[in-house]
């Protein structure tokens, strides 16, 4: 099967590679670029572990052929931290609020939440829950993930984060 040459920008860096047309974007990221932070959970578009930003929108990278992403800009979990290497507000939120247990869904959750907060900087709890409904977590029951996103939202907006009473 003939391979196709593709180029795209990933976390700010120009990258290129030779791929079969059937190569999924998530495999290109993990195997060609060795960016293994993006996880493969179900590979059937359900779980959201493979969520990345593609041209400023959240998508599931197991549901995109690498050739479809040619010329686009991709943001993965490896590009989320602050430029000085310190944790971004969302990463800090997941740490402080115990937003992860096994951690498998976490890269997808954080990349998705990153875009959610770009689109809606102060989401309500219901908006957060709807916003991450394409990301499945089997450990946390979502409570602490919601809190982590609320923590990041408050930090970015300079407002006070208050945990709701249980």
């Amino acid at each position: 099967m003939a391979k196709t040459h593709i180029t795209m920008k990933v976390n700010g860096a120009e990258v290129e590679g030779l791929v079969e047309p059937r190569t999924l974007l998530v495999h290109f990221l993990r195997e060609t670029l060795s960016l293994t932070g993006t996880h493969i959970g179900c590979e059937t578009t359900h779980c959201g572990a493979c969520t990345v930003d593609l041209d400023g929108k959240s998508v599931k990278s197991c549901t995109v052929f690498a050739v479809q992403a040619e010329g686009s800009e991709i943001l993965t979990i490896e590009g989320i931290a602050n430029a000085d290497g310190s944790l971004a507000a969302l990463q800090e939120g997941f740490r402080m609020m115990h937003g992860l247990q096994c951690g498998f869904c976490t890269p997808g959750m954080i990349v998705r939440a990153h875009r959610l907060l770009q689109e809606n900087p102060a989401p309500t709890e219901a908006e957060i829950r709807m916003g991450i409904s394409g990301n499945l977590c089997r450990c946390t029951g979502y409570q602490n993930i919601v809190k982590a996103i609320q923590y990041a939202s408050a930090k970015v907006n300079g407002t006070e984060f208050r945990e709701a009473a249980e």
Binding site: M1, V59, T63, R112, L116, A126, S133, G134
Partner: protein
Amino acid sequence: MTPFDYIRPATIAEAVAAAATPGAAYLAAGTNLLDLMKGGISRPTRVVDISRLPGLDRIEALPDGSVRIGALVRNADLAHDAAFARAFPSVAEALLSGASAQLRNAATVGGNLLQRTRCSYFHDAASACNKRSPGAGCDARGGENRLHAVLGWSDACIATHPSDFCVPLVAFDAVVEIEGSGGRREIALEALHRLPDAAPERDAVLDPGDLIVAVRLPAAARNFAAHARYLKLRERTSYAFAVVSAAAALDLDGGTIKSARLALGGVAAKPWRARAAESLLAGASPGLPAFRRAAETALAGATPSGDNGFKIELAQRMVARALSLAAAGTPARVPALPASPFSSTAGALHVA
């Protein structure tokens, strides 16, 4: 995944020519096609990537009051287009009730219309399925079929069409523009999807190479903007296909219904327009007695295709509830849980 040739045509004419050969499939976002290919359910030998064709990603207000939606407009972009959502709020609500943010960001208008059924026997290569392998039989008939069709099904196939978007569209007389090897033609969306009869392998009345280029909503659909709702019952609060859904819209004149629109989702192999129920509502006074009569009429021909007799009464209740919600008025903004029966909206009736 079976290997394939990847072609990215520059024009619609090139696309139609490239896709007219046997074994070819169009690729837009691929949110449905990729999963079908990963599971071996669809094995195209040639994939024609139309996602970069110019001019198909626009939402255009036409001089006659209609709206033309390009086939490559993304579901999220359409639902969040302020002018569109104001004029056609139940269409926006239906879009936002579907899938998840990631999928709505990618999925296109044309792809939504042509998505395949989510019948689990269609998706399981080890099961018999007449839609996937004509003549193989239908394991859904004797299987887990509580979510299957109650209207328009045949002995060959009891699958349902999964789209939310198509339900209000068909209620509003949407028109589909198709480019084919014989040139441009258009048909009513209601006539696009086929009932299964003896040939369930054909979802739609399209020929090889036919490309949906746009969907148009006629100006008359604007008359319902103040009283239009989509209601969708799911087995989870979000990120699930409809068990039953209903798009209801009323054009009210004081205490009388001037005109009504009604369609159901999750009940048949196509979005199901309920014209007899609409006729019954025209001239009636809005309220539960009229809405319940309309609901009974809408499901008059329904029969269980398996363990799904409950869907008939459920659909009737959904129709009455959707009409009640429409009569109460379109909410100022789409609820945080779009189309959910569990969303509390002022004026909504929770016991219909």
